[in-house]
Amino acid sequence: MEQIHVTIKLFAHFRNGRFKEANHPFAPGVDCRQIILGLGLGLGEVGIVMVNGQHASLDQRLKEQDTLALFPLVGGG
């Protein structure tokens, strides 16, 4: 089966010991939850999930060349 490629962007302390941005191959049909767990992040740690700049649920499946951005719960104003 062909793999798909997803750009993953990490923010705030998620970057520590990981990366800022990386392109990874995944099996087709992979969802946000699987990628988050695969990065060693707990689901409870993740505050904001965006796919291509729009808020996404953990169940959302990724497509070839999607960008997944993960933020801890942070804020400002």
Partner: protein
């Protein structure tokens, strides 16, 4: 006994008054807006003798409660022509509260050309002639007053921009480290300048202090409240570590980071100015990533930012300033932005209004996009010295647009739109339109729910639910602004069920009152309606509750979003 201090500059007299019973239960914004609405003729000139400048600590200021040390300032705004309240940290609110000053009202205007200062202590308030510190920047004034009156003195001060009465002038308040925080928006510094008050010094020696009606109950509620602040991931960890500037990358990713004077929603230099980079830079240069704007702040979103040589450069370096000069003016060097921030603090000019004014100035071709050095030069040599160009930029984004024939001028009620694009974060657009303050993100911070998943989730790109979201947040914010609380307590308040009841319990324990949640909501509604009624009487209309035309006609990348609310939909905001 609590008291009202009244300064009449027409005849240079001062009075200590009893607190009228209808003002006794009010603090902060509720009190400043009530006093302005009652005593200021709405159609008066904001810089004339009939405007009044009012300061009031919050209901809980001066108590041991976390994050309660905010001071409200209110007047008719020379920028918007409507009512204004702006609140700030620093040491003054707590000193006012310990001195049992419910509010300070400054009215009238001195005859002649002389300048004055006010001195507040346990006896009341007195007026002095002032000559020595005129023309000086805020930092020099604070240094001089600290050597004259001692390190502990409280200071409320205007810089040269306030002396010039420019509509972006702010009022600064000394913070616990001897630096400043500012009543930023709406040109309140120009009102203080019009009254020719350079500074107010506060001495709380011998102050009677706060009396708490039910100390045990207060302590218990305060514990619950502080725990909620510490437990919530935003106030407990996010804000202390990265400050507000963590938002650069979030808004960039969401396509809501206004870039190149609100032309795009993303900035290719975002990594250079983002909170993550700033945090690493601060740590590497021996600055402080966390720092509170007043004693008792447990969140500490502020920071101390050092230059390359490890020397203090600025503090209170906020997302809005960094966005405004960064993405909005395409400046990629964080050090240049920090330098500009420090100069703006010293001159006493609102960093949001001014950053947006620079974006419009760049659009007009007055200086190149991204030229941070030129921004610093214009701040120092044009605005600081009061040249014609400096006065135009110092009068705000709207003034620059009108002077140079620019049509892309992001203002509502002539006040600059801050750091969130209303086309791609629609809830905040409703707040910009409807807030009686003019475009102000803090008035109803829908970013929490539109972007940060705090208090639920409302899709930022759709119209559904935005009016209600903005209305509920504006009502809650008006109430919170009256307690002396920093608005960042809203993050835990939206998510942690014990947080708001604990806040209300503290107010009840402090005053021996029995307010319910509904009372607090009603207070918020009353404040908003009072402010709106003032604006309507001042001549503003529903047509002022609108975004500039270009937000409808120009889609913003990457989502190609446009502002698509009808006038009727916006006006329905006021159906409460």
């Amino acid at each position: 006994m609590d008291k009202i201090l009244r300064v009449n500059l027409n005849d240079l007299t001062t009075r200590v008054e009893e607190v009228p019973s209808e003002w006794a239960g009010l603090g902060g914004r509720a009190l400043t807006s009530t006093i302005v609405a009652k005593e200021v003729p709405p159609t008066c000139h904001a810089l004339g003798p009939n405007n009044k400048l009012v300061f009031a600590p919050g209901l809980l200021s001066g108590t041991a409660s976390s994050n309660s040390g905010r001071l409200s300032a209110g007047a008719k705004s020379p920028l918007t022509g409507g009512i204004k309240e702006s609140n700030v940290g620093g040491t003054a609110a707590q000193m006012f509260a310990r001195l049992r000053i419910h509010a300070l009202i400054i009215e009238g205007m001195p005859k002649g050309d002389g300048w004055y200062s006010l001195r507040i202590n346990k006896e009341g308030v007195s007026i002095q002639e002032e000559t020595g510190l005129l023309g000086l920047g805020n930092f020099a004034v604070i240094d001089a007053l600290q050597s004259l009156l001692g390190k502990k003195t409280g200071v409320i001060v205007i810089g040269p921009v306030g002396e010039m009465r420019l509509s972006s002038a702010n009022i600064s308040v000394k913070d616990p480290s001897g630096k400043i925080r500012s009543h930023g928006r709406g040109g309140l510094g120009a009102v203080m300048g019009s009254k020719r008050i350079k500074f107010i010094s506060i001495d709380d020696e011998g102050a009677p202090g706060i009396q708490i009606a039910d100390p045990e109950k207060f302590k218990a509620a305060s514990r619950v409240f502080t725990k909620a602040l510490m437990d919530h991931p935003v106030s407990g960890q996010g804000l202390p570590t990265y400050g507000t500037n963590v938002l650069v990358n979030i808004l960039h990713e969401a396509g809501g980071l206004p870039t190149r004077n609100f032309t795009y929603g993303q900035f290719d230099g975002h990594e250079q100015i983002c909170g993550e980079t700033m945090h690493d830079t601060i740590v590497a240069r021996g600055g402080k990533p966390r720092h509170g704007c007043h004693a008792g702040c447990v969140i500490q979103c502020s920071q101390v930012y050092n230059d390359k040589d490890g020397q203090y450069l600025t503090s209170g370096f906020e997302y809005e300033t960094i966005w405004g000069l960064g993405a909005n003016c395409l400046i990629k060097e964080l050090d240049d932005i920090a330098q500009a921030d420090s100069v703006m603090d010293d001159l006493g000019i609102d960093s949001i209004e001014t950053a947006v004014a620079f974006g419009v100035a760049m659009e007009a071709g007055l200086l190149p996009w991204g030229d941070g050095k030129e921004v610093v030069r214009i701040l120092r040599d044009e605005i600081g010295k009061g040249t014609a160009l400096g006065r135009v930029i110092g009068s705000g984004a709207g003034a620059v647009g009108r002077t140079y024939g620019v049509t892309r001028v992001p203002v509502v009620k002539n006040q600059a739109i801050p750091a969130y694009d209303p086309r791609s974060v629609k809830g905040i657009g409703i707040t910009y339109c409807t807030s009686p303050m003019g475009a102000d993100h803090t008035a109803g911070y829908t970013i929490a729910t539109n972007i940060l998943n705090v208090g639920g989730q409302v899709d930022p790109l759709k119209k559904d639910g935005q009016i209600e979201l903005s209305r509920n947040l504006q009502i809650a914010t008006a109430a919170i602004d009256s307690t002396g609380m920093c608005i960042f307590i809203a993050f835990p308040a939206l998510d942690i069920p014990e947080c708001l009841p604990a806040l209300i319990d503290m107010i009840n324990a402090r005053f021996g009152a029995s307010l319910t949640g509904d009372d607090v909501v009603n207070l918020g509604k009353t404040i908003l309606k009072t402010e709106r009624a003032f604006n309507l009487a001042a001549g503003l209309t529903a047509a002022d509750d609108r975004l500039p035309e270009f937000f409808k006609s120009d889609p913003v990348a990457p989502h190609q979003a446009v502002w698509d609310f009808t006038n009727e939909e916006i006006d329905a905001f006021w159906d409460f």
